[in-house]
């Protein structure tokens, strides 16, 4: 196979190299005919293991943009009753796929800023992608709105152009432990031990770390610490480990298919803890209740939104109709709605600042409290570092396929079913 190189081969190689780099050059930020346009980039995992969530997040941002760009007097959402912002500026989205990989996400963030000429970025679901991608924005002094990434570390970096809407896993962990303490007081639940099951990724590991901190602060003992490889072929040994340790409560951080596998494996092994609370993602996926049917019932988790929250957030219903046309009927969940909020709040801030100047808009974002009918609590405000200090979520329980609010008490609408009903009595 040894191949003596000739001049021809050489120049052919060079030609291939140059053609590769040069000829397919993507649109160098095609200038649109319309002048009054603000380009916003979205960066979500549209392919790969968490593509479901990524595609929903993208649809949520599109929904928000539709509201901003067009007149929707029927919606009770800021900017709905006018066309565009800043006297006629329309928002144009440029979409990119991070594949859930940090290196791809970073490269796409750079491409969106430099080549597509976007003015700000919204993204990127995976905390591990949001980290490097937001660094790109920060260095370029551009705004990065982050809807759903939950790692608390993101907003502990003192960045000026980074804003995150969702509650962090730190707040959620504290809330979970509060729930357990409340149960101990009110219901004499006698919960003393905790088991953790989480996917061994940035998301799961970070959540578990925060959970351990919160648990030990409250004097609860962690008796089982079970990380697993996402995408596993079975969770038999994971559940068996939990079953043997038999903790009173289980805190879980599992995504989509892994969550359903976990529930089904517990059923198969005829074991359930007294109470199980999950971090947002897997549990609040709107298809879970439908797919798992009665098996999903009585499990709990934090939820930032669900269609059953209509009483608290009456404005969402009509917005959700637009969203459903883009997702084939799947409603918002707590993650995707945060991305819509991110887009809306950013547009509000641009409107208020009055100029398309990233630094001004970032200052405005920090300085004000924003009306946000799509957020639980209705307000958004950013602390230093960019965390939404008004971020709330409620601990809910699935009962009969619906997310019922349980804790905190002032938000509750249903009595908790405690402990989880044994599998053979359903």
């Amino acid at each position: 196979m040894s191949f003596r190189m000739s001049k021809g081969a050489f120049w052919a190689t060079l030609a291939v190299f140059l053609v590769g780099v040069f000829c397919f050059g993507p649109g160098m930020g095609q200038t649109l005919a319309q002048e009054k346009v603000i380009k916003i980039g979205t960066l979500f995992p549209l392919t790969g293991p968490v593509a479901t969530a990524g595609q929903r997040c993208q649809a949520a941002v599109q929904t928000a943009v539709e509201i901003i760009n067009n007149k929707h007097p029927e919606l009770k959402v800021p900017l709905a009753d006018q066309e565009g912002i800043l006297d006629g500026y329309k928002i144009v989205l440029v979409h990119a796929d991070s594949q859930g990989k940090p290196d791809v996400g970073k490269a796409e963030a750079e491409r969106l800023f430099n080549q597509e000429g976007v003015w700000a970025l919204i993204g990127s679901y995976n905390s591990s992608v949001s980290k490097p991608a937001s660094l790109v924005a920060e260095r370029m002094k551009r705004i990065f709105m982050c809807g759903a990434s939950s790692s608390a570390a993101l907003t502990q970096r003192d960045m000026n152009f980074f804003f995150r809407l969702a509650p962090t896993d730190e707040t959620e962990s504290v809330e979970f432990v509060e729930t357990l303490k409340w149960l101990n007081q009110k219901k004499k639940a006698n919960i003393e031990t905790i088991g953790l099951i989480y996917e061994n990724s940035e998301f799961g590991k970070h959540a578990a770390g925060e959970a351990k901190k919160a648990a030990s602060a409250a004097g609860l003992k962690v008796v089982a610490d079970v990380p697993f490889s996402p995408g596993a072929t079975n969770l038999n040994s994971e559940v068996q480990t939990l079953k043997n340790a038999n903790p009173d409560a289980v805190l879980g951080a599992l995504l989509g298919a892994d969550y359903s596998l976990w529930i089904r494996t517990m059923k198969q092994m005829a074991w359930a803890p007294k109470i199980a609370i999950s971090y947002c993602s897997g549990y609040q996926d709107p298809v879970i209740a439908k797919q798992l049917g009665p098996d999903a019932d009585f499990f709990m988790g934090s939820t930032a939104y669900s269609p059953q929250f209509n009483v608290l957030m009456p404005a969402v219903g009509d917005v959700e109709k637009i969203f459903k046309t883009k997702t084939g009927g799947v409603p918002f969940d707590g993650d995707s709605i945060q991305e819509a909020v991110a887009m809306l709040v950013l547009a509000q801030a641009i409107q208020k600042a009055g100029v398309l100047d990233a630094e001004k808009v970032a200052e405005t974002l920090h300085a004000n409290t924003w009306d946000s009918p799509l957020s639980l609590g209705g307000k958004v405000a950013f602390a230093k570092g960019g965390q939404n200090s008004k971020a709330h979520s409620v601990v809910t329980q699935l009962q009969g396929g619906e997310y019922k609010r349980i804790f905190p008490e002032e938000m509750a609408d249903t009595e908790i079913v405690f402990p989880i009903k044994p599998w053979n009595q359903r």
Partner: protein
Amino acid sequence: MVGKSVDLKTFSAKDGLWVAFVVILAILPLIPAFSSNSFRLHVMILILLYASMAQAWNIIGGYCGQVSFGHSVFFGIGAYGAGMAVVTYGATPWPGIIVGMIMAAIVAVIISYPCFKLSGHYFAIATFAIVEIFNRGFLVWDWVGGALGLDYPIIKEGLVNLMWHQSKTGYYYSALVIFVIIFGTVRWLEGHRFGYYMRAVREGQETAESLGVNSAAVKLTAMALSAAMAALCGAFFAQYNLRVDPPMVMSLDTSMKFVLITILGGAGTMLGPLLGASVLIPLQEYTRAFWGGLGGGVDLIIFGVLIILMVVKQPDGMIGLIRDVGKWASNKRAEERN
């Protein structure tokens, strides 16, 4: 296709071509058409990086004939070397790069020693298994950051920290230097006695042994060299992305890249890795840029089909294609003469 037969020990016409090639590459960023478009520069950096990675693999996989799917382990060790130097110890990445390369070479020798007793597919799958073991191991190893990975802080840009924020030109020249180092080494090996030993081992271990080549030593040395080079590329990858975590660097996906690019270009040839990277990387980056945003993986569907087409049409790799074109051209010339 017969090139000029030259004394390989001296500077040859062929090397002159390489120098010209590198000079052209070095000038490219000075042309505004390249430098003003940072995505284009990004693609060029990736081509150089992946060509270098593939060439590093080519030492053991192409020239020596040992198909390893384990190179992401060495790549990862290099990345962690640089990453930990900066993130964990707050130093410059340079000592980390050196340590990473040495560690990679040591690990390569340790794991290859038993693996080299295996032949063909058994060896390939053993290296597969090793990647998975390292991947899971690093995911739970807290000292290296575990599943959380290592995130670079924002520190001063420049050669000292091997990090640039404003423009990518610094990265481009660093990648070019790595490219020159690795391709230069392989070029030197091609003419060196050791290069002949490697090819002898590839063609037949027994025959090579009978000629007095210590095949085990040759394979181990080649593997160590290859691993150290892969680690160098890994360190650059970490510096470029400012983040390291196990799925990013120590995964079968990454390993596949090493192999894919080399095979696609033409294994065991010096031009192969460069050709493969020049085709595959722009393909991957541009399909994503064009169609990735549509969602639904259209870019990857096209990417998959194109790989199949290329392989089916030209199983010898790009180099075979060029060879065919060359043959066709010289035949044509011969016809004209008649």
